[in-house]
Symmetry: C2
Subunit: 130 residues, 2 copies
Amino acid sequence: MTSFPASHADLIEKSQILVLGTNGADGFPQVTALWFLVEDGTIRVSLNTARQKTKNLSRDPKVTLFFVDPENPYRTLEIRANATVEPDPDYVFADRVGAKYDGANLREMDAPGQSRVVVSFAPVKVNTFG
Amino acid sequence: MTSFPASHADLIEKSQILVLGTNGADGFPQVTALWFLVEDGTIRVSLNTARQKTKNLSRDPKVTLFFVDPENPYRTLEIRANATVEPDPDYVFADRVGAKYDGANLREMDAPGQSRVVVSFAPVKVNTFG
């Protein structure tokens, strides 16, 4: 169970996407926008194992989540976190993510032979701005 | 002179802020939102040298810029870039940034004894999404 700072918890509620920063093998941070779900106070995403970001955080679990207030880009929330990866071969978690996003079917986003994982983020340090 | 992909160049025009990812000394990406200026095709920001992000990119110039379409969070632009740092002791560049942002005075954001640098980003790899 993780709690987020009360002053900026609304950013997690309001944001359609989170911004994920991972450590790329080329030495550059990799930054992408992702669908996410909050379950029992834990932020989670569903990733295709073929993606570079999945490889990055499997190799180095030190990641950063970033939320920008859609109504005020000067209010932001940065969460440095350790990522843990679990298999989701039957799309059980992926279906819960899809349900949040207008019933999207994440199976249709994957090529044959690809698979899904659940990535959960355990916060290490939280910074708020604005 | 740098050109950005025509399909997503509007994100740079429309965004009030850019998201900057740097490599933190603790091994986590550091992610923050920043004012920026585009001059002669180069994206630049004005940073206070006391800030952690300034220390990060001075130590390791491999950074990533990220833009999210304010009207559609599924359209994004990721620019991995090398950062170069130049002094701006007289706030010449900082004043140009302030002029873009309703005449903000960046001097007032700094404590006595702190100083400013101009950080310019030379793109290495560009990824678009959406």
